[in-house]
């Protein structure tokens, strides 16, 4: 239960949020034509006669788009409707060549499902289930450009007809954080499934944010819909701003109007939008150019079989089978690229060191989550850098776990490797740490002799100085002293 409240002049208000997310379906061709979907093409290059709604043009659905919608539905445990059909939503706008959008109102392809969100990534108990009402498939519209000509707007139909999934949640969220967590989780799932690339800055995911406020426990208030919000941060801001605005309206004695709004990120406020269809009468009816879409059991089964391990299952497996902490498991499973690297590296490290995955999982996880990011940052290198290979990472992790080099040395070598032309294997070998007890004892003796005052203080109870002696010894040995042995020798000598 969220205890997020708007503190109004007249008391506390609860916010109720539902999201309609438009996710661009990953496909080569458009939903109803053979034109390409790639981002960033020349204007009107990726437009077919069908997308431009030339007279007599007809739609034929792309199987991949249907498949991706079904796979997405299965990934959120939703009901798959084996009988669905397309409807026309009629309105006039320059980005809508047909004068209607082909969508699904009456019989969507995916029915009810759910998504579990986690509100605190360190607390596996902080979960909440958000209901999904439906997923339907529909066409995207074209794009208008208003600033290229003094008296005209320009129309680019490249996006016209690109397949979208509209994923409609139930009004189950109660705080900006929940809305943000939901959108992030949805994005993660879509990216796991591969049904949407999740590139919000390219418009691949946009959320319509439905917000209303009420006194806790009272019936739902009137909602507004803020359209096309394209980041998690903005969704959270919209919820916050819109809830505050609505509370202010009500407390001023006004009423909230059910309307469409736009978010202005520069001013961090929502404002009423001139509606596209004044009367909002879309005259939905079944598209007579298309037939009912009937899915076979085999088709659905194939969709199911093609799903990868999904984020919740993966996180759970990392905790139970690999013994990782809830936090590490959560972090590693957030992004597809992260888990892929982790699993690849885990497999490689286990193989190279001849140990079970469970035994090296923690070390690999630490390397990926806490040690490597700093090195990459210091080296000014992206995670996708070609030198950042699984083999290189594995060599370093294995060298540390075999005691060949210390963890600190590994980071040092890795940074050199990323920024200069060193041979990794040679460098590891030449930095091999010493396990020669005599050499370590000699170094320790020298350090203790040179710091007699500190030895006194240590013996007097200032035990924090132990780290100082370790550091001095390692430094004297150019980082090659085996840390366990250095510790051991120091403890013995200091009594």
């Amino acid at each position: 239960m969220s205890d997020y409240r708007i503190h109004g002049a007249t008391g506390e208000w609860e916010v109720v949020i539902g999201l309609e997310v438009h996710a661009q379906v990953t496909s080569n061709a458009k939903l109803f034509s053979g034109a390409a979907t790639a981002f960033g093409a020349e204007p009107n290059a990726q437009v077919s006669l069908v997308d431009a709604a030339m007279p007599g043009m007809l739609p034929v659905p792309n199987m991949e788009c249907i498949r991706q919608a079904v796979r997405t539905g299965l990934a959120i445990n939703a009901q798959i409707n084996k009988w669905s059909r397309f409807d026309r939503k009629n309105y006039f706008y320059a980005d809508l060549p047909q004068g209607y959008q082909i969508s699904q109102l009456y019989h969507p392809i995916v029915g009810e499902g759910e998504i579990e969100i986690q509100l605190d990534d360190k607390d596996p108990e902080s979960t909440k289930t958000i209901g999904i009402e439906r997923i339907h498939v529909e066409q995207d519209a074209g794009k208008l450009m208003h600033d290229q000509h003094p008296t005209m707007s320009y129309v680019d139909l490249n996006r016209s007809g690109v397949a979208l999934m509209e994923i409609v949640s139930r009004p189950d969220m109660r705080s900006p954080a929940e809305a943000g967590a939901y959108l992030s989780k949805l994005r993660t799932i879509l990216r796991y499934v591969g049904s949407c690339d999740g590139n919000m800055d390219q418009g691949s995911m946009r959320a319509d944010v439905n917000v209303s406020v009420r006194r806790p426990g009272e019936p739902f208030g009137t909602r507004t819909e803020t359209k096309n919000v394209n980041s998690v941060r903005f969704v959270m801001a919209v919820v916050e701003q819109e809830a505050k605005r609505q509370v202010a309206v009500i407390e001023d004695g006004g009423t909230v109007v059910q309307e469409t709004r736009l978010y202005d990120p520069d001013r961090n406020e929502t404002r009423s939008m001139r509606s596209k269809e004044d009367a909002h009468d879309y005259r939905y009816f079944p598209d007579p150019d298309l037939l009912p879409l009937e899915l076979t059991d085999d088709f659905v089964a194939e969709c199911k079989a093609s799903l990868p391990e999904l984020p919740d299952a993966k996180r759970h497996r990392y905790e139970t089978a690999l013994g990782l902490s809830a936090y590490d498991a959560g972090q590693l499973t957030l992004e597809v690229e992260t888990y892929q690297q982790f699993e690849e590296m885990l497999e490689s490290v286990a193989r190279e060191s001849g140990a079970p995955e469970r035994d090296v999982a923690k070390r690999v996880a630490n390397w990926i989550l806490s040690e490597r990011p700093g090195v990459l940052r210091a080296a000014g290198v992206a995670v996708t850098d070609p030198r950042n290979t699984v083999a290189a990472n594995t060599a370093l992790i294995v060298a540390v776990s075999k005691g060949v080099i210390s963890g600190g040395k590994a980071k040092e070598i890795f940074q050199q490797y990323l920024t200069s032309d060193i041979d990794l294997a040679e460098t590891i070998a030449s930095n091999q740490q010493t396990t020669d007890t005599g050499a370590i004892e000699a170094a320790v003796d020298a350090i203790l002799a040179a710091n007699a005052d500190k030895v006194e203080q240590y013996k007097g109870g200032k035990e924090a100085l132990f780290g100082f002696f370790v550091g001095q010894t390692m430094k004297a040995m150019q980082g090659k002293g085996n840390p366990q042995l250095v510790n051991q020798v120091l403890k013995d000598k200091l009594g």
């Binding site: 030339m54 007279p55 034929v60 060549p97 209607y100 707007s153 009816f285 150019d289």
Partner: protein, 494 residues
């Protein structure tokens, strides 16, 4: 040498193949006939004599080279101006598409050219195929070649394929394409004493045909006789992956299987088509048709299509609803007319463009369609109509358990004079009373000449068949044709 313009599809195809005459001679003869009749009949919106000649030259060259010739080789035809023809103006007889030259060819017309046909021109029609008299074209009325005795009053060639029917009846084209949404092939065929078949919904691809009502539109041939229709339909029909409603099934060799022996076949006579106050000449023609089919060996059975009286109202909800949406794309943005009054915004431009571009009947149907789909009315009108449509379809399914084909009149009267019915839309709509039920059920249906009325004007007899049974329809049509020996033709007055 016979007048080449007296020849139909089969005769031209066979004559060209045998070398009795060249395709070029045929094209030239029809081009001349078209030019001669154009001012009087206004059957064409644009003529394309050079296209007809080019196609003919290609056929002649193929023949000289010994290459195999197509089903329609050497036959010049008229193309209803509802089919997109590449780089040739395609208007649907509407101002809103004046000057529109598509960069694509409709599937059906492409198939015809592939089969060796040539194009005489784009035929006039009711605007967006909405009408039954060809009086709604933005390019003027088509005048029927037929006249009442001692009367020069212009008669309607029927609609919407009125340019097609007039051209074939006047023998300025041996055949023409038509499209039929609620009777637009059959009623004009009946009015002008020619044959025409609307095949099963989905037989001919709708790709590239300007849409009127998607769930009803079907292309089909209009020609002098049943054989010509069979030949041309074979060339037009066939699966098209670009049309979701296209039937994925082989096209039979309808011509080869033509057979007017109907022994063992049952012909259903629908009780409900006997309307009160039926034109006695139409009733007599129907009786005659029954007698002819009996003579061909068929057994006559009475059948019932109980929801017949609801077919027209059903049609006049569904067709305008689909049309209101199909015609939304004519907005002045990507092609066609743009009317941009001073200072107009986008939405004003739409309203002005559509007001200036659409004719009165088109506007009327768009408004009806918009209304029946609008919030609060959708279920009462549209959903109810689609349910009644299911019942109408069931009626046919039931009837076809008792018979193989159904015989009915095509239209409630012979051709009327221009202006006679255009004042009252409802009266005009009643023209389709016999043709609309088969359209709603997607069934193949054909009109063949079935005698003349008291004024010597042609009457049509309609044969309706089971889905996919074009052969049964063609064969029954052929049985009537042989016995009717219809020889009336309009006297040439142009």
């Amino acid at each position: 040498m016979t007048d080449l313009t007296d020849l139909g599809v089969a005769a031209i195809r066979d004559g060209v193949a045998k070398g009795d005459f060249s395709a070029t001679e045929v094209a030239s003869a029809f081009n001349a006939a078209v030019a001669e009749a154009q001012d009087a009949l206004n059957a064409f919106i644009v003529t394309t004599p050079e296209k007809a000649l080019a196609a003919a030259a290609a056929v002649d060259a193929d023949r000289a080279a010994g290459k195999p010739l197509g089903k329609m080789a050497g036959v010049p035809i008229g193309m209803k101006d509802l089919f997109a023809t590449q780089d040739v103006q395609t208007t649907a007889a509407s101002k809103i598409l004046e000057g529109f030259k598509p960069k694509y060819e409709s599937t059906v017309s492409a198939r015809l050219w592939q089969a060796g046909a040539g194009m005489l021109g784009k035929l006039n029609l009711d605007q967006f195929a909405m009408g039954s008299s060809n009086e709604t074209s933005a390019f003027g009325n088509v005048i029927s070649p037929w006249r009442r005795p001692n009367d020069t009053a212009p008669l309607a060639p029927g609609g919407s394929s009125g340019g097609s029917s007039a051209a074939v009846a006047a023998r300025i084209a041996p055949a023409a394409t038509g499209t039929d949404t609620g009777g637009s092939i059959r009623q004009p065929a009946a009015f002008t004493g020619i044959s025409g078949i609307k095949p099963t919904y989905g037989r001919c691809s709708r790709w590239g045909i300007v849409a009127f009502a998607s769930s009803l539109d079907q292309a089909g041939p209009m020609a002098r006789d049943v054989r010509d229709c069979a030949i041309m339909l074979e060339a037009m029909a066939g699966f098209d992956p670009k049309d979701s409603t296209s039937l994925d099934m082989p096209v039979p060799d309808w011509e080869a299987a033509l057979n007017d022996d109907l022994r063992g076949k049952k012909v259903g006579i629908p009780r409900e088509y006997r309307l009160d106050g039926m034109d006695p000449d139409v009733a007599a023609s129907w009786e005659q048709g029954i007698a002819w089919l009996k003579d061909a060996g068929a057994e006559i059975v009475e059948v019932s299509l109980p929801h017949t009286k609801y077919a027209l109202p059903t049609y006049y909800i569904i067709a305008p609803a689909e049309a209101s949406s199909n015609l939304a794309r004519y907005d002045g943005v990507r092609y066609g007319l743009r009317d941009l009054p001073d200072g107009a915004g986008l939405q004003d431009m739409y309203a002005a463009t559509r007001a200036a571009g659409f004719g009165a009947e088109v506007k009327r149907r768009i408004l009806i369609g918009t209304y029946v789909l609008s919030a609060g009315f959708y279920d009462a009108y549209y959903t109810q109509a689609q349910k009644v449509r299911t019942l109408i379809s069931h009626d046919f399914t039931n009837a076809f358990t008792q018979c193989d084909v159904i015989l009915a009149p095509t239209a409630p009267s012979a051709a009327f004079a221009l202006g006679e019915k255009s004042a009252d839309p409802l009266e005009m709509y009643l023209n389709d009373v016999f043709s609309v039920p088969a359209s709603l059920a997607g069934l193949p249906a054909m009109s063949v000449p079935g005698g003349v009325d008291r004024n010597g004007l042609p009457l049509g007899l309609q044969v309706i068949g089971r889905a996919f049974d074009e052969q049964g329809v063609l064969n029954a049509g052929l049985a009537i044709e042989k016995r009717a020996a219809f020889s009336a033709r309009p006297a040439k007055w142009w």
